[in-house]
Amino acid sequence: MDPKAFRPPARVTIVAGKGGVGKTTVSAALAYLAAASGFRVLIVEVEGKSGLPTLFDRPDALSYEEAVMLEPGRAGPGSAELRARTLTPDDALVEYLEDRGMRRISRRLSSTGTLDVIATAVPGIKDILVLGKVKQIENQIAAGAAGAPDCIVVDAPAAGHAVSFLSSAYGLMEAAAVGPIRAQAADVVAMLSDPDRCQVMLVTLPEETPVNEAVDTAFHLEDRAGVKLSPIVVNGLWPRLDLPAAAPADLPQGRLSDAERAAVEGAADFRRRRQAVQEEQLARLAEALPLSQLRLPYLFTTELGLEEVRALAGELAQQLAGVSG
């Protein structure tokens, strides 16, 4: 892997996918790769609940303040700093109001549930507040502001929600003829529709339901959000093993008992069926979606940490080099 060859495809990459497909893991791996390649990167988490710090072997939960996940040099010589923060709609509204001199009331609004009323009266306003804030950071990047990162990775809400999340700006532009919300929405639309500024990376699994959902999401995003899709990540692929149909009973170093042979063959059989399902779903995905596929291996563990993130970043680097090369 030569991480130096990697360049983030856009200033903002939004990682989206159905719950449980490994969105957060892919966000972490992509951010790791950017940092290893010398780009200062900020991961933005929008649901207020994330296993992100664990992926960098950090114990503390994320907060609205940026926290360092990787110090400079931690991801190899010349690597840059990686930070992460949350950006929930409640946070974004409070900041929006504070910026307009309403500090005192802003805190009370979230605690009394008034935000719920506003968000219900104006669907999409939460999303536009969050995306507006992302856009603000993106503007700082473009302006080379002090303390700004070089790129942003957004760990988006679960798919389904991702479509409404990203199409909210268009909806609000139609609904609100004038005013600050319309201006905000117009700015967000401008960002989403410029592939140098923003791209969406979809994540899925090589299983039937996740593939269906990824295909639906991809078409909806292109139709309704006008956003450019980067290659799609197929996560959790079992590395292919060429397994013989049967296990011999007699081996040079001894005999396998019937039970041992049954276990060896049962495991092989399971793996072969699994591999067949994967191949079928990868083919189905390729047929339904004209996007390059980035394939990440299943790591045969139930806990992921920095070591695994590094391995996945390496895989991404290799495959991205192939895609863009």
């Binding site: 159905k18 719950g19 449980g20 649901e47 609940k49 296993g51 109001l97 307009r100 309403m102 005192r104 009331i105 009370r108 609004l109 009394t112 549930g113 008034t114 719920d116 009323v117 506003i118 968000a119 219900t120 009266a121 104006v122 669907p123 306003i125 679960a158 609100a176 005013g179 600050p180 919300i181 299983e207 039937e208 339901t209 269906n212 079992w238 093993l241 060429d242 397994l243 013989p244 296990a247 081996l251 040079p252 170093q253 001894g254 396998l256 041992e260 276990a263 060896v264 049962g266 495991a267 092989a268 399971f270 793996r271 069926r273 699994r274 399902v277 045969f300 563990t301 139930t302 806990e303």
Partner: protein
């Protein structure tokens, strides 16, 4: 590590719930197979000769097809289960339509047809079912209560919505009530009352700004909604109390569906603790999608592996399975430790998605301890 930690009664306990309780609620994080488990438990009820109904929320398309649910159907309809049903047993299914359910609630609580219509026509109201978090959960509980009190069923199984947090549905009624009682807008709609002074400068400024930011029409609609709603909160509050009582009833069982991963286990433990606070408890725990375990690599195979690519592949494969199975088992043990006395049922990772009744039979076979397959052949 041995399998001794599993209470031998896990499957029987679950079958007991399907056979004797009137309400079973399947809760757990998203993506762990809650809907499938809910459908399998209801099918088991039918098998045991009960009139069962499963309330599903956003099922995967093929499972919905298997249950004959092509679209949202707020009225339950019969599922053709062939010879699976026991004597007198039947299975109905419905896919929750949040919006229609909410409309029914409004009509029921309104003092007059005019009041109901004023609310149903209100712009803010029409956004609620799509935009207000917790509404789907609340309506699921509402539907459950309605089905339960009609007494057409011996067993109602509810699948809970995929939420960020499994706890959200326990808090949903309060969240909706808080919404309906929002103080700022309630004060605003009655400016001539004594409450005027209590609004305060900051609130007035906020409302003026809100008008500027989101438009005066939005504020007008919002005020109209709260005005139209006047007098209905008590109905909602009473119903929420009844639903809460039903959830705490001895005839209601909570089943937590989880997966053997760290985050899902943490969430399951958290959920069980929270349930205990509301004086309910988790009566069975389903750990779904467990990796099959084939044991460690036999020494003879390990020794021979370096000499042959084929044998090496077989050994690597076994190692892969064993590594994951061992870790998963450790997560399940952690669950067992934290929820002592709660029966645990393990369901293996199945090689394909459940998309028909045979698939449900297979899951049911694991849930209720009949082995992998129990449906009629063919």
């Amino acid at each position: 590590m041995s399998g001794a930690a599993e209470p031998p009664s896990g499957s029987q306990a679950l079958a007991g719930l399907a056979g004797s309780r009137r309400v079973v609620i399947c809760a757990g994080p998203g993506g762990v197979g809650k809907t499938t488990c809910a459908a399998a438990i209801a099918l088991e009820g039918a098998r045991l000769g009960r009139r069962a109904c499963v309330v599903t929320i956003d099922p995967a398309k093929r499972l919905a097809d298997a249950l004959g649910l092509e679209s949202l159907t707020n009225d339950a309809h019969r599922v053709a289960i062939g010879t699976r049903g026991g004597p007198g047993g039947s299975l109905d299914a419905l896919m929750l339509d949040t919006k229609t359910t909410f409309d029914e609630v409004v009509r029921r609580n309104a003092a007059s047809e005019e009041q109901a219509q004023a609310i149903l026509d209100n712009k803010l109201y029409r956004n609620i079912s799509g935009a207000l978090g917790g509404t789907q959960e609340y309506m699921a509980m509402e539907k459950l209560y309605e089905l339960h009190s009609r007494r057409d069923y011996d067993l109602v199984v509810v699948d809970t919505p995929p939420t960020r947090h499994a706890l959200d549905f326990l808090d949903a009624p309060n969240r909706l009530l808080r919404f309906l009682n929002n103080r700022i807008f309630r004060l605003l709609m009655a400016p001539t009352r004594a409450g005027l002074r209590a609004i305060g400068m900051a609130t007035q400024m906020f409302l003026r700004t809100l008008s500027k930011v989101v438009g005066g029409a939005v504020v007008t609609d919002t005020v109209a909604f709260f005005t139209a709603f006047e007098g209905m909160e008590q109905g909602f509050r009473d119903r929420a109390a009844k639903v809460e009582a039903l959830l705490a009833d001895a005839d209601t069982a909570f089943v937590v569906v989880s997966s053997p991963r760290r985050d899902a286990v943490v969430e399951a433990i958290f959920f069980a603790d929270r349930l205990r606070e509301s004086s309910s408890r988790v009566e069975a725990l389903v750990v779904n999608r467990m990796f099959p375990s084939f044991g460690p690599v036999p020494p003879a195979l390990a020794a021979a592996a370096p000499g042959s690519p084929e044998l090496a592949a077989l050994a690597t494969n076994l190692e892969d399975f064993d590594r994951v199975a061992t870790r998963e088992e450790a997560h399940v043990e952690q669950l067992a430790d934290r929820l002592p006395g709660t029966p645990i049922v393990r369901v293996p990772f199945l090689s394909s998605d459940v998309h028909d009744l045979d698939g449900l039979d297979e899951v049911g076979g694991w849930l209720f301890g009949r082995g992998a397959r129990s449906g009629p052949p063919g």
